[in-house]
Symmetry: C2
């Protein structure tokens, strides 16, 4: 029996090292297979990108959706696997790139979706942490996120490894050289070194029954993933809203007893949070700001990072926060009740 949360702590801390490995292995002869996959995508010149994923990987896919729309200028959508599995849909997928994102590469519904998509004319690319997985074999190309074995049930290092892989893959498709992520590993180490500061902050949430997370644009996936970590490790009823959606109905939920975690990074997404923060202030919400400096309680992250890459740093203190809140409540974040590492849905 290991110390509760030891696996999650170790894997959280390992992330910058994983990013270094990924960066080293994504060239023409690199073990990730990224270079080749990027070439295949470029030569097929897709008109539309469909992403398919579940759980944490779905948040990495959502991040990639923003990259595809903003950077590649292609419309993109998250596929509901049930349309092809449960309903037997056989869409016309010529000119479509299907990107399947999965930690294990073993989910039967993703596998089936990739098989059907390939038969329907799509170029299929799997992004997984296991080159020997069924999904890796079923897709036309596989990109390995090279995160090494992930033993904690709550995904941490595979999440940021997926995001960095997707960023580099789509950057390469667009003709970029991936240099924008050069400073990332060192910045990641600096952010992670403040675990003690996060532990102190976590105490504030010891008795919070509900929490709300929010962000816009590239930071919206961060809000989603932070909520999932809080749910699965600390059993907090955490709800994520895009800043825009929060201003519709869910604003009625905001009250001082429901803490809000707001992701506000430099760049357009963070700027678009200004009216959301104003609405929260009007309602006397208890807000923790993660990202750029601002009034009130906050976890400040290093500035000067390309806003496309901010999500890799933003999630780090939130992974730490979820672990500390879980431990404070006597839960073991390495062994959430009722969860398994691979989820089988068809």
């Amino acid at each position: 029996m290991s110390t509760p949360g030891a696996l999650m702590a170790a894997e959280t801390a390992e992330q910058p090292q994983v990013w270094r490995r990924l960066r080293a292995e994504s060239g023409p002869d690199g073990a990730s297979g990224l270079h080749r996959a990027a070439g295949q995508i470029r030569s097929r010149a897709p008109r539309f990108v469909a992403l398919v994923a579940r759980g944490t990987s779905d948040h990495a896919a959502l991040y990639a959706k923003y990259l595809v729309e903003i950077r590649l200028g292609l419309p993109a959508g998250l596929v509901s696997p049930s349309t092809m599995t449960a309903y037997g849909a056989r869409p016309d997928l010529r000119d479509v790139l299907v990107l399947a994102v999965s930690q294990s590469g073993g989910s039967p519904d993703l596998l089936r979706t990739v098989q059907v998509a390939g038969a329907q004319g799509a170029l299929t690319v799997a992004v997984t942490n296991d080159a020997a997985s069924p999904l890796a074999s079923a897709a036309h190309a596989h990109v390995d996120v090279l995160a090494g074995p992930e033993r904690a049930v709550a995904a941490t290092k595979t999440y940021t490894a997926q995001m960095l892989t997707l960023h580099r893959l789509l950057d390469a498709v667009g003709g970029g050289d991936g240099a924008s992520s050069d400073p990332l590993p060192d910045l990641g180490d600096a952010v992670l070194a403040r675990d003690g500061e996060v532990a102190v902050l976590a105490q504030r949430y010891r008795f919070a029954q509900r929490m709300i997370t929010t962000g816009r644009g590239y930071s919206y996936p961060t809000a989603r993933e932070a909520a999932l970590k809080l749910m699965e490790t600390a059993y907090v009823s955490a709800q994520a809203f895009s800043g825009a959606d929060l201003q519709h109905g869910p604003l009625a939920l905001i009250e001082p007893q429901v803490p809000v975690l707001a992701i506000v990074s430099e760049g357009a997404g963070g700027e678009a949070m200004a009216p959301v923060l104003a609405s929260l202030a009007e309602r006397d919400a208890d807000v923790l700001r993660i990202g750029s400096p601002g009034p009130g309680l906050g976890i400040e992250l290093p500035g000067g990072v390309d806003d496309e890459l901010s999500p890799l740093l933003e999630i780090l203190p939130l992974q730490q926060l979820a672990r500390h809140v879980a431990l404070d409540r006597g839960a073991d974040p390495d062994a959430p009740r009722g969860l398994h590492k691979i989820t089988a849905t068809l």
Copy 2:
């Protein structure tokens, strides 16, 4: 000062009448403009459908996404308006149909998205409840959902009117005659007549702080919309999960003190809920089943309805439930705290 919830009750009850009107007005000379819009879509033969919406309308758009993927066999995605507004993305949208869904037709971010999409080569179709709205003017075609003025802040009749409009529109694009929805208005009246039964059930949730809603496929939008109604009218922290996603991390949240509303209609989506219901039973979850008959507590809906159309009936008792829970808690569902009918986000 009117009776609390009177507006929401009246507009909920009005839905079958709205559906009759819509059905009567969607022919070649009908006031909805549906027939003409369907013709424009058919003649452009889009290869991909992008949907854009916010709040309740986003759930109608999600419903339409399933219809597009399953019925029309086209890949579809929900657009994040921020990519074109906050980030200034200018995607290549030739061969793309952009369907904007909005009650008011007045949201500035949807308007901007439709303008940009049109300039980028998309065929744009607006589905709104106001033919004189900016969105209706900005799109190449407008389809009026003809729900009449909606005065309650919580949308009810415009939601099902949007769904029926989208169903008929996409059915017409696919060459259908819309006959499958013939029985719907009478069935809706029968379901709504059981408001007293729902009022009794609502008492069970008087002190629930959190609720979880879940469904798969066509019923997933119902789960999303039911959660939003509970949040905005009764201030319940309600979270919606697709059945498949629930079996990932969020399953850790399930405990007997967190009631679950499970939408289980006839058809593939309902059948795919079987393993989800089994997982919930294993965790001693308190489940209310909405749809087809089954063991335990339930609201049974009429059988024999095409599973594409079940969502129109499923949401009716859930709108009633949200209203009753709100009233039981002393809240006025017609005037949720802090909400306005049109939400301006850019």
